[in-house]
């Protein structure tokens, strides 16, 4: 061996300063750590399982989410409950019931003209169609008792005087002819010319039955996606929406019965949608009147919100909660503990390298290796969703996947540092400590998903999940609106459950602030266990 000066491959003399030496030591430990992790079976097992999970999720995405973009009858008016061949929407238009096969568009409708009401006179005389709601007595000529009833022609058993309230026949349609030729009836519709007397506390309606006419049944598809969301982002007015199918205003309906003109959002404009916007123009609340914009085109709204839900769910559950916790459990727990148990630690520590420094380099090696895997996986997922996602600007998907990758790398760092410290704290029981802590983190993540704000604050998963929420808002600023739309228009895409506006923003709602705060807290979760680990490791004797 000679001590002569060694030049680099291009013949330059190598300069050595404290910094370059530090750099080289770091490089060596990081490289060794990566090589060691690469040589561990458990590494490839956990990588394999993670990849499999993501492949399955992608398959689910292709199979369910992408295929799920077909039109859905969001307001459920394309069904035909009574089986008369007319869908509910068409029955509504004609005012007929969809629970009675004898009633259908054109079947003849009962149009009320007046009623025998609770506080008015108890009887009415005329030639009408009658609707007796309770126990009643009819004198005159009658016809066409619409509700056939087997005992209708039987004589009445015994009706005591005029005491009509003494109704021995229960709560069902019934009629019988009394000894004086009057008819006792309850809960029946019939036609007759005479006088109807209704018992105290009950009411009856009289009117006409319209003429029968022929109406061709509409196909059910006519009532799917028939009332899309009419929103003009450039229109500053808060009143938006148009009742395309007319089931709120009923203005275009063939039968102008009981025009609804609902104003449940109380903005004094019937049948519209109230969009409340922030000072920056972002939509924060959507309140529609009943039956306005209730059946939007699913490939437009449902497609986009399902797509986003899939990415958010995958990011939160698969990346942050599963990969984020399991990868460090397998790879970081033994970063130093295993070296010491295998009896190889002394090779590294008999070199001029501080133990504290050593922990940081080991963790860096682990982080580069596991983080590289996570970033690669998020890039692959980005390709899946960008190429298979619904139409639109899918470039934002790359940003969101990069964000999810970055958040997961931060949680890998935090868990890595925590688990490594646990391995150092108790080489024997560290694995149990780490398992308990992993379960705790998972529980806190579930609480966070359910919207808990305070309890999960002391957990890595809480801040990681909040950071994903914030990243989503930065990459897709209209997510608040989309989530509001999903809630307002009853679109069950999971977006409003799995995504919430970031919780901790000091009331500003700023996603940038939420990201900053999350990074700060996660940094504390990373550095604190490193300091604890360093102080334990510095005093540890290596026998």
């Amino acid at each position: 061996m000679s001590g002569s000066e060694i030049n680099d491959s291009e013949g330059r003399r190598l300069s050595t300063t404290v910094w370059t030496a530090l750099d080289r030591k770091a490089g060596a430990v990081i490289e060794l750590t990566i090589k060691q992790l690469r040589n561990k079976t458990s590494t490839w097992t956990v990588f394999g399982v993670s990849t499999l999970l993501l492949i399955l999720l992608s398959a689910f995405y292709v199979d369910s989410v992408r295929d799920g973009f077909e039109s859905i009858d969001n307001d459920g008016d394309s069904v035909d409950y009574d089986g008369d061949g007319y869908p509910l929407g068409q029955e509504r238009k004609y005012g007929s019931s969809d629970f009675n096969p004898d009633e259908y568009p054109g079947s003849g409708l009962f149009i009320p003209e007046g009623e025998i009401y609770y506080n008015g006179p108890r009887s009415h005389t005329g030639n009408h169609s009658w609707d007796a709601d309770g126990p009643s007595l009819f004198s005159g000529s009658w016809d066409n008792i619409l509700d056939y009833y087997p005992e209708a022609d039987e004589p009445c058993p015994e009706i005591i005087g005029e005491d009509l309230e003494n109704t021995p026949y229960g709560w069902s349609p019934y009629s019988c002819v009394m000894a004086n030729e009057d008819r006792y009836l309850q809960f029946l519709r019939f036609e007759g010319n005479g006088t109807l007397t209704v018992a105290q506390g009950w009411y009856g309606i009289y009117g006409v039955v319209t003429e029968r006419f022929q109406v061709a049944p509409d196909p059910p598809e006519a009532y799917i996606d028939e009332d899309g969301i009419d929103w003009d982002p450039d229109n500053p007015s808060s009143s938006q929406g148009f009742d395309d199918d007319g089931d709120c205003t009923r203005s275009e309906y063939p039968e102008q019965i009981a025009a609804d003109n609902d104003d449940s959002n109380r903005n004094r404009i019937p049948c519209d949608v109230l969009w409340t916007r922030n000072a920056d123009g972002s939509v924060i609340q959507i309140q529609p009147d009943m039956l306005v914009d209730e059946d939007p085109v699913d490939s437009e709204l449902m497609g986009e919100s399902s797509h986003r839900s899939f990415i958010i769910i995958t990011g939160k559950i698969a990346f942050t909660m599963i990969i984020g916790i399991f990868l460090p459990l397998f790879l970081a727990l033994g970063l130093i503990r295993d070296e010491s148990e295998n009896g190889t630690l002394h090779y590294l520590l008999s070199k001029p390298i501080h133990r504290g420094e050593f922990i940081v380099y080991r963790l860096s090696g682990y982080l580069i290796f596991s983080g590289g895997f996570v970033l690669l996986m998020s890039l692959l997922m980005a390709f899946v969703t960008v190429f298979l996602g619904p139409d639109g600007n899918r470039l934002a998907d790359f940003n969101i996947w990069f964000g999810i990758g970055a958040v997961t790398v931060l949680s890998l760092a935090a868990y890595g540092s925590i688990f490594n410290a646990m391995g150092l704290m108790s080489p024997k029981y560290g694995v149990y400590l780490a398992l308990i802590y992993g379960v705790y983190e998972f529980a806190m993540a579930v609480m966070t998903l359910f919207g808990a704000e305070l309890v999960p604050v002391i957990s890595v998963s809480h801040w990681s999940l909040q950071m994903i929420d914030a990243v989503v808002l930065v990459a897709w600023p209209d997510t608040i609106m989309l989530s509001q739309m999903s809630t307002a228009f009853n679109i069950d895409s999971g977006l409003s459950f799995f995504w919430r506006p970031p919780l901790h923003t000091f009331g500003t709602g700023s996603p940038a602030l939420a990201i900053g705060l999350s990074i700060t807290v996660l940094m504390a979760f990373i550095s604190l266990p490193i300091l604890v680990g360093q102080s334990i490791f510095k005093r540890r004797e290596i026998d």
């Binding site: 061996m1 030496a21 009896g343 190889t344 590294l348 008999s350």
Partner: protein, 310 residues
Amino acid sequence: MNSTPAIALDHVSKWYGQVIGVNDVSLAIDGGVTGILGMNGAGKSTLFKLLMGRLRPSNGSVKLFGTDPWETTSPYRRVGYVSESEKMYDWMTSLDFVSTLARLHGMTRYEAEKRAEQALSFVDLEGVLNKEIGKYSKGMRQRVKIAAALVHEPDLLILDEPLHGCDPLARTSIMNVIREMGSRGKTVLVSSHILEEIERITEQIVILHSGKLVALGNLHAIRAMLDKHPHRILIRCADSRALASTFIDQQSVYGVRFIDNESLEIMTKDLSEAHQLLPMLILKSGIQIYSIENPDDNLESLLGYLVGDA
């Protein structure tokens, strides 16, 4: 040469709970090869671990080049250490292993590789640089460890049982390396529990027993002291009785014991004189000799003599 010795121990003790590993050892070593002799459990490894900052002394102070190795790692720049542990990164090639450890001294990748190649060829492993360590024989593994300790050209080399379990070829190779390092003026500390091994490497020895330093100095001087101590010489020959009669009237011999017709044990208090006489007496007797052994010429006897309980 710097006035600070490479190694300085001042009343160092190390307790493992109730058990003492090193007991009040004071020592200063600088330059040349020093053998640390002691039976298994005598405290050799503990002493080395204290020197390498792996253990913290319970009492006293340990200094490597004037610096406490428990507090700071800076002395390791000048120290190469081969531990007794046989565990290695079996999946690595020896070049990879040695160059990785070299980089921990702040060398560039290129420089580390060059130095690793040099160090490995210095221990005669140049032909198998790119073979995985797991496929090496025990002696080769030991030499890889030595190469890793030498790669940064340390001023102090600490070798814990480097010859343990090695085949004769590897032993010779390792011994040559140690002697070469010593001849270059480096301080080399090498431990063993076999006297003969150390004898072939160096004359300067430290003897540890039950954690205590029992002797320090030149092996020949210690041996000379030992020669004045009752010694046995075991001779296997064709006729032990006939041979015995030739020894009886010798001054240096104070006892003869028959073991059987072919074995004879001679007791002496002056081993060197007895050895000088032996060839002449055997020649005179004309009896055929099968073997001559010195059963007391080992570490146990030496220790027995030094500690006084043999």
